[in-house]
Point group: C2
Chain length 274, copies 2
């Protein structure tokens, strides 16, 4: 892993067992990135490299990468997927958006639908929202008893540990935007008719609970950043910084996984094609 990337991991990772103050993480931080256009070009290049690494992951067929994206409305979950994974194409990458659970999903435990959507070996799975909603919106809106929610942190850690021990590498990104940035992005959805479909009046209610959500995020980060599935807090106000940071981390992670083309149990000379 390049030193530059290691410095990132250090800076953005939530250290397991330590507590974090989101107020001390600046959503407008530009990290090591200076020029916007140069950074965008470098990110496009990283996206190509991620694509090439994904091909090897697919050929190897032994391990998976799970990327979890969480953040307030408008924090750029879709934009991250487009910016970092568009070059990777749809073969070997699955995206699952977790919306309000269905009746059938609610009839099971909260990890049931999440487990079902986990990526197959050889592929990258991206979660747009995740089981973490069950300690975020569920907590702020009181959708489950307090005690049940308290129990979830450890349940989630155990679940993710099991995934990790069975071949799934997990990266978790909180897209950290400021309340002012969210105001601008929501306003843009009202001002631009092509974005009306993205505007959900209910988002304004969550915005009213901004402080409660930030508290719930902090508790989640404090409890669920583990050595096997660390959380990264990504400065989200500048989309190009966000994409660059995540692309660096994803690429470094895939490089560390170092997937290799499998050795077949035969020699090419075993065959003659008629």
């Amino acid at each position: 892993m390049a030193d530059q990337t290691r410095a990132f991991l250090e800076k953005l990772q939530v250290k397991p067992g330590k507590s974090i103050k989101l107020k001390e993480r600046d959503p407008r931080d530009t990290l090591i990135f200076e020029d916007e256009e140069l950074t965008k070009a470098a990110t496009a290049q990283l996206a190509q490299e991620i694509d090439a690494l994904q091909d090897r992951l697919y050929a190897e067929g032994q391990r998976a990468l799970l990327v979890i994206l969480q953040g307030m409305d408008t924090s750029g979950k879709d934009g991250t997927i487009r910016g970092v994974f568009n070059s990777t194409g749809p073969i070997g990458v699955s995206v699952t958006a977790f919306r309000r659970p269905t009746e059938n999903e609610l009839a099971h435990d909260y990890l049931w639908r999440v487990h079902e959507a986990c990526p197959k070996r050889g592929t990258i799975g991206i979660f747009n929202r995740s089981h973490y909603e069950d300690v975020l919106v569920a907590k702020v809106h009181g959708l489950a008893p307090k005690k049940a929610i308290e129990q979830r942190y450890e349940q989630i850690n155990a679940f993710e540990k099991m995934l990790s021990e069975n071949g799934t590498v997990i990266l978790k990104f909180m897209l950290h935007i400021s309340k002012e940035e969210q105001r601008e992005r929501l306003q843009e959805r009202l001002d631009n008719p092509k974005k009306h479909w993205k505007f959900n009046p209910g988002d304004l209610d969550d915005r009213k609970n901004w402080g409660d959500f930030q508290d719930a995020y902090e508790t989640m980060l404090d409890n669920c950043s583990t050595t096997w599935a660390p959380w990264y807090v990504i400065p989200g106000d500048r989309k190009w910084v966000r994409n660059a940071a995540i692309a660096h981390i994803v690429k470094a992670t895939l490089e560390d996984m170092n997937p290799h083309y499998p050795q077949p149990p035969w020699k090419p000379s075993d065959f003659k094609i008629e």
Copy 2:
């Protein structure tokens, strides 16, 4: 739809109710495409346009596009997905590869796993192989009684009609390669260590049954090209011709669907963002 594309549809489509001879379809046909590099550049442009149309399909959220790819081993199903849909990225595009059915899948009717994988409204679903294997490999290898296989053509037509009447537009492409081209591609998988993982010794058995497979394809094309879900036979020996032809048809189909941004039940002035 452009006249050029309409000429394509005419030429490549299997006319519902007519019978077809695969021997009369040249796998090396270059259609209207002349220069390889210019055609590749035009296909990349079409892929961008498909991406833009997909965004509108997603915003609209009312209809889906199902693209079914069938063809002999090495016919280029994965290559088509990369060539035509890579720009579309993984949001709103799902790829399902149908492999040998699992025990659980075999415990249900053959359309059960296919139905489950059909694309959600707003998305494009791509099938790499499909329920058509149940009238192809199933027929050649005798995996089901003859009478059961005979019944499937009508069952499939009825199933696809239901999908179509419920908002899913269906395109079916048979990637038509020559036996000689397959030989070269299989040999390449043996010669190139990075392609060893793609080589499956079992493919050689299917190759021995080439003629039976071609017959099964013809019967399937004769029986299952319908007005609501037409089959196209795509010349497959030249990858750039294959991708160009399919990109044209997919783009024309999405243009005909003409998805539009939905009108929300509110006016922007209803809201003030605090």
